[in-house]
C-alpha cells in the first residue's frame, strides 16, 4: 500500500527509479538520490518550516501516522495543533483513527487547561454543526425521492428534479408574498372583518365611459358546461374573484385607524417578488458558475475530467452500467476524433471555407424564416382568438373553447416543431459536436421565450386603440374595459394548457408507447423503442411555464399558487414516467454544466419577463374601470405620487439618486471596478502559467544536478548512502 505522507512529503520524482525521457538516455537507471542528502537541500528545509508554521494538514497527518506507528521524526508541532482536525476527516481506516483518538486523549492529560478547553469546545462545536446539518437535511422537501433517483439514474437526471424542487419553493414564496400583502388585506377589508373597511374613490379627470365595467358573472340559469368553460378560461364567475386584477378595485383599506395603501402595496409586492426571484437565482448560480468557469475556461482539463470523474459510482442497475460504459466510450472516441478534426479544419483551404460559410449563412436564413413563421402564426392566432371569443351564442361550447385556447395551442405546437427542425438543420452546418448541441439549445430557448413575447405584443396591439374617442382612456375601452384582467386570463389559460399538455403527453403517449414496446414484437415497434428522458427539453418546458408565471402574477395575483400546485404534481408525474416508461440516456449529461445552464436560462427568462412587465407598468395607461390604479395615468404613477408625500429632505435625496448627476458617475465607477477585476483575473492567469513553467524547469534542473552529483560521488569512491 502506498504511504500517506510517510515521513515528510517527498516530491514524487524521487521515490522510485524511472527513466526520464528528455534529458537522459533511457538506459541510465536513476537510482533514488540519497534520501538524507535531499533533506539537506535549503529549499526542502524551508518548505518544512513553512508547513510546520502554517500547521499544514499533510504534515500533521504525516506526524499522526508517525505517532500511530510509533516512529519519531522532525520536531512536532505542539500538542494543541493535533486536535484541530476532526477525526472523521482523516484518511485512515477506522481502526487507525481509533488508535489516534486514544493517543490524543492520552495526550490531553498532559496539556494545559486552556488547550484542553479549547480542544473539547471545538470538538463539541463541530459535532453540533454536524447534527444541525443532519437535522436540516431531514426537513428538505422530497429528500428521499431525489436521493433514490440519484442512486438509480445518476446525477444528470437528479439535477432536473432538484431544479423542479427549487421552482416549487420559489413559487410558494411568491405566493406567500402576494397573498399576505395584497390578497389578504383586500379580502379582509372587503368583507369588513376585524373592523376594517375599504374606500373606493371614483376617478376624476376621465371620461365616464372609460369607467364602465360589468364583468359578466353568471346570472340566471346557465348550463353546467358554462362553469367548466369559466374554470378553464378564467371568464365568467372566475373573473370577479381574487384570482384576477379586477377584484382589487380598492384605493385604500382601513384597519381601525391604520390606513393601508393597497395600490402601493400591489406595486411594491410585484417588485419584491421579482427581486426575490432574481436574488435567489443569482445566489444559487454563483456556486455553480464558479465550477462552470473552471470547467469552461480551462479547456486543458477536459480529458482528465472525463477519465478521473467519468464513472458515476451511484449506478447500481446493470443496464444503466452497460449504457454508461458505452456512452463513456462514445464520448472519449468523439473527443479524440474532434481533436483530429480540429487539426484538419486548421488545414482547410480557402475554397472550402467559403463554401461552408455560405452554407451556414443560408441555413441561418432558413432558421430566421422558421422563427418568423412561428411569430406570425402566433400573432394571427391571438388576434383571431381575441376577436372571436366573445361570440358565445353563435358557436358551440367546444368550438368556443378551442378559439379561446388557440394561442396556447399554436405556441405549444411551435415549441414542439421548431426544435425538431433546428436539430435537423444543424447537421448541415458542420460544426463540432459540442458546439452543435449548444447552438441548438440556444435556438430552442430563443424560440420558447420569444413566443411568449410575441403573444404579449399581439395582445397589446389589440388593446391599443386608434380612434380619438378611446384615446381619452388610453386603451380600447369597448372590448377591454379591464384590460389587465384580460391579460391575466390569457396567462392563466397558457399555464393551465401547459399543465394539461404535460399530463396528456405522459398519459396518452408515454404509457401506451411503453405498453406497445413491451407487448408487441414487431420490428418497427422495437426499433422505435422507448423514449429517453430528455433533460434539456424537460427543463425548457418548466422554464417556459415559470416565465409565464412571472409575467402573469402582476395581472393575476394567485398565479404562483397555481404554479406551485402544478410543479408539485409534475414532480410525481415525471418521476413515475421516468421509472416506468423511459430508457436511460445514451448521451452523457454532465451534472455540473447542466446545473449552470438551467439557472442561466431561468435567469434569461426572468430578465425577459421584466420587459413586458416594465412596459405594462410604466407605459400603458392603467385601466380606469377596475383595479387599484384607477386614479393614476399608469400603474407606475403611484410611486412619484407617494414620494411627493414624503418630507422634503427625503424627496430631494430620492430625486438626487434618480437624476443623471448621480447615475452617470455611479455607472462609470462600476465600469472601472469591473475592468479592474477583469485585469486582475488575467494577471493571475498569466502568473499561474509562468509558475507552471518554472516548476517544470526547476525539477529538470534538480534532476540534472542530482545525476551529476551521484556520478561525482561514484567516481570519488565514497560509499553511497542507502537507497530510500
Amino acid at each position: 500500500m502506498s504511504e500517506f505522507g510517510a515521513g515528510a512529503e517527498l516530491p514524487g520524482w524521487v521515490t522510485e527509479s524511472r527513466s526520464r525521457g528528455e534529458f537522459f538516455s533511457p538506459e541510465e537507471s536513476h537510482a533514488a538520490a540519497p534520501a538524507g542528502f535531499l533533506q539537506e537541500l535549503p529549499s526542502y528545509r524551508s518548505v518544512l518550516r513553512r508547513r510546520a508554521a502554517a500547521g499544514d494538514v499533510q504534515e500533521r497527518w504525516g506526524n499522526l501516522r508517525g505517532i500511530a506507528s510509533a516512529e519519531r521524526r522532525e520536531p512536532q508541532p505542539d500538542g494543541g495543533e493535533r486536535g484541530a482536525i476532526p477525526l472523521w476527516e482523516l484518511p485512515f481506516s477506522i481502526a487507525e483513527k481509533r488508535r489516534i483518538r486514544d493517543l490524543q486523549q492520552g495526550d490531553i492529560k498532559y496539556s494545559s487547561g486552556w488547550n484542553h478547553w479549547k480542544r473539547t469546545s471545538s470538538k463539541s462545536w463541530k459535532k453540533a454543526l454536524k447534527d444541525i446539518k443532519e437535522l436540516s437535511s431531514y426537513m428538505q422537501l422530497w429528500r428521499h425521492d431525489i436521493h433514490s433517483i440519484e442512486g438509480k439514474f445518476g446525477t444528470g437526471i437528479q439535477s432536473y428534479f432538484s431544479f423542479l424542487r427549487f421552482l416549487v419553493l420559489l413559487n410558494f414564496l411568491m405566493f406567500i408574498l402576494m397573498f399576505s400583502f395584497v390578497t389578504l388585506p383586500a379580502v379582509i377589508s372587503n368583507y369588513g372583518i376585524f373592523n376594517s373597511s375599504s374606500t373606493k374613490i371614483s376617478p376624476n379627470n376621465t371620461e365616464p365611459y372609460c369607467t364602465v365595467y360589468t364583468p359578466s358573472g353568471n346570472k340566471g340559469l346557465v348550463y353546467f358546461y358554462t362553469y367548466l368553460k369559466d374554470l378553464l378560461t378564467g371568464t365568467g364567475f372566475l373573473e370577479v374573484t381574487v384570482l384576477f386584477y379586477g377584484y382589487y378595485t380598492i384605493d385604500a383599506a382601513w384597519f381601525s385607524v391604520l390606513r393601508y395603501n393597497l395600490p402601493l402595496a400591489y406595486l411594491l409586492t410585484t417588485f419584491a417578488y421579482l427581486a426575490l426571484s432574481f436574488v435567489w437565482i443569482i445566489k444559487r448560480s454563483v456556486e455553480r458558475f464558479r465550477q462552470h468557469l473552471v470547467h469552461d475556461e480551462d479547456q486543458f482539463q477536459s480529458y482528465c475530467n472525463k477519465v478521473f470523474a467519468g464513472w458515476d459510482f451511484c449506478i447500481t442497475d446493470l443496464n444503466a452500467a452497460r449504457l454508461k460504459h458505452r456512452s463513456l466510450l462514445y464520448e472519449l472516441q468523439t473527443n479524440l476524433e474532434e481533436e483530429r478534426l480540429k487539426q484538419k479544419i486548421a488545414e482547410r483551404t480557402m475554397k472550402e471555407k467559403l463554401r461552408i460559410y455560405s452554407l451556414r449563412i443560408f441555413i441561418n436564413i432558413i432558421v430566421i424564416a422558421v422563427l418568423s413563421g412561428c411569430f406570425y402564426s402566433i400573432y394571427r392566432a391571438t388576434v383571431f382568438s381575441q376577436e372571436n371569443s366573445s361570440n358565445i351564442s353563435i358557436v358551440g361550447f367546444q368550438a368556443n373553447l378551442l378559439v379561446q385556447y388557440l394561442p396556447s395551442i399554436v405556441i405549444t405546437s411551435a415549441n414542439f416543431i421548431a426544435p425538431q427542425i433546428f436539430s435537423f438543420l444543424i447537421a448541415f452546418e458542420d460544426y463540432s459536436a459540442a458546439f452543435e448541441i449548444r447552438l441548438t439549445l440556444i435556438r430552442c430557448v430563443f424560440v420558447r421565450l420569444a413566443n411568449v413575447g410575441v403573444l404579449l405584443f399581439s395582445l397589446w396591439s389589440q388593446i391599443h386603440c386608434d380612434n380619438d374617442q378611446c384615446k381619452a382612456c388610453g386603451y380600447d375601452y369597448e372590448l377591454y374595459p379591464c384590460w389587465e384582467s384580460a391579460v391575466g386570463q390569457e396567462m392563466y389559460k397558457l399555464l393551465i394548457f401547459d399543465f394539461m399538455i404535460i399530463i396528456a403527453m405522459t398519459l396518452f403517449v408515454d404509457f401506451p408507447r411503453k405498453l406497445l414496446v413491451t407487448y408487441c414484437s414487431w420490428k418497427l415497434v422495437q426499433w422505435w423503442g422507448l423514449q429517453e428522458f430528455g433533460i434539456s427539453d424537460n427543463v425548457l418546458e418548466i422554464i417556459y411555464g415559470q416565465t409565464i408565471c412571472w409575467i402573469g402574477t402582476f395581472f393575476s395575483p394567485l398565479l404562483p399558487a397555481i404554479a406551485t400546485i402544478k410543479y408539485f404534481i409534475i414532480f410525481y408525474i415525471k418521476k413515475i414516467s421516468l421509472i416506468h416508461t423511459r430508457k436511460p440516456a445514451s448521451r452523457p449529461i454532465r451534472a455540473s454544466s447542466s446545473n449552470f445552464f438551467f439557472l442561466a436560462v431561468l435567469l434569461i427568462g426572468l430578465i425577459l419577463a421584466f420587459v413586458p412587465l416594465g412596459v405594462s407598468i410604466a407605459l400603458i395607461s392603467s385601466s380606469k374601470a377596475c383595479g387599484p390604479f384607477r386614479n393614476f395615468n399608469t400603474s407606475w404613477a403611484i410611486v412619484p405620487y407617494t414620494i411627493l408625500e414624503f418630507p422634503i429632505g427625503l424627496q430631494k435625496f430620492l430625486y438626487g439618486i434618480a437624476s443623471e448627476a448621480f447615475a452617470v458617475p455611479f455607472f462609470v465607477i462600476a465600469c472601472l471596478f469591473m475592468f479592474y477585476f477583469i485585469a486582475l483575473a488575467g494577471a493571475h492567469k498569466r502568473v499561474v502559467e509562468q509558475l507552471r513553467e518554472q516548476l517544470v524547469t526547476e525539477s529538470r534542473d534538480k534532476l540534472f544536478l542530482l545525476e551529476k552529483l551521484s556520478e561525482a560521488q561514484k567516481n570519488s569512491g565514497k560509499p553511497q548512502k542507502a537507497r530510500s
Binding site: L87, T155, Y303, W311, R590, S593
Partner: protein, 196 residues
C-alpha cells in the same frame, strides 16, 4: 430498523458517528445490509466478523454477474478498503463503514481524491503511470473487445491526460498532481458517491 439497532451497541454507534462521515441512519442501514451478507449464525457479532470478498461483491453497489459488472472498480475498492492481514481482500464491518464514509455525501473532496488515487493506482506503486491509466480507461469503457479504444486512440488519450495533469513532466501522476487536477474537476465530487 428497531431490530438492528438493538444488535448494534449504542456506544459503538456513537463511536462510528465520531470516526466517519456517516450519520446514525446511514450507519444503521449499513449494519443491516452488512449483516444480511452473513450466514445467520454469524449475525450476532457482525462487528467482528470478516466477510470474504466474494460475499461483498454480491452487494448491488458492487455486484458482478455472469458477464457484466455494475461497478468496474469493485476489486480495487475491496482491495483498498480491506484491512485484512492475510491479503485476501476480505472486509470487516468497519472496513465497510470506511468505504461508505469515503463515498458518502458529506465526505470532503480531499478525502475522496486521496482514496480515488489509491483506487486508480492499479499496481500500488504510489503513482499513476501509463499502465495504470490504460487499465483505468479500459475499466471505464467496459469489458469485451469491441468496447476498447484502439491502441492509437489509447496512446493519444494517455498522452493528453498526462499533458494536462503531469506538472513536473516525469511521465507519472503523483498524489499532489492528482489532487490538483481533481480540485479543478467539477464533476468529481458528485460522481464519486455511493448511495445505499
Amino acid at each position: 430498523m428497531g431490530g438492528s439497532s438493538s444488535l448494534l451497541p449504542q456506544e459503538a454507534l456513537g463511536e462510528y458517528q465520531e470516526l466517519t462521515f456517516l450519520n446514525k441512519q446511514e450507519i444503521l442501514l449499513a449494519y443491516k445490509r452488512f449483516s444480511e451478507l452473513l450466514p445467520r449464525e454469524q449475525r450476532e457479532n457482525a462487528c467482528s466478523v470478516r466477510v470474504p470478498k466474494s460475499q461483498i461483491l454480491t452487494l448491488p453497489e458492487l455486484r458482478p454477474s455472469p458477464s457484466r459488472q455494475a461497478n468496474p472498480f469493485q476489486h480495487r475498492i475491496c482491495h483498498v478498503f480491506s484491512t485484512s492481514e492475510d491479503g485476501d481482500d476480505s472486509m470487516s464491518f468497519e472496513d465497510f463503514l470506511d468505504m461508505l464514509s469515503v463515498f458518502s455525501d458529506a465526505a470532503t473532496s480531499d478525502i475522496k481524491s486521496r482514496y480515488a488515487f489509491r483506487i486508480f493506482d492499479f499496481d500500488d506503486d504510489g503513482v499513476l503511470d501509463g499502465k495504470d491509466l490504460e487499465k483505468l480507461v479500459n475499466c471505464l469503457t467496459g469489458q469485451g473487445e469491441e468496447a476498447r479504444l484502439s491502441s492509437i486512440e489509447m496512446e493519444q488519450l494517455i498522452r493528453n491526460v498526462l499533458e494536462e495533469s503531469d506538472i513536473d513532466k516525469d511521465g507519472t501522476i503523483n498524489l499532489s498532481e492528482f489532487q490538483h487536477v481533481i480540485s479543478r474537476s467539477p464533476d468529481f465530487v458528485s460522481s464519486f458517491k455511493i448511495v445505499l
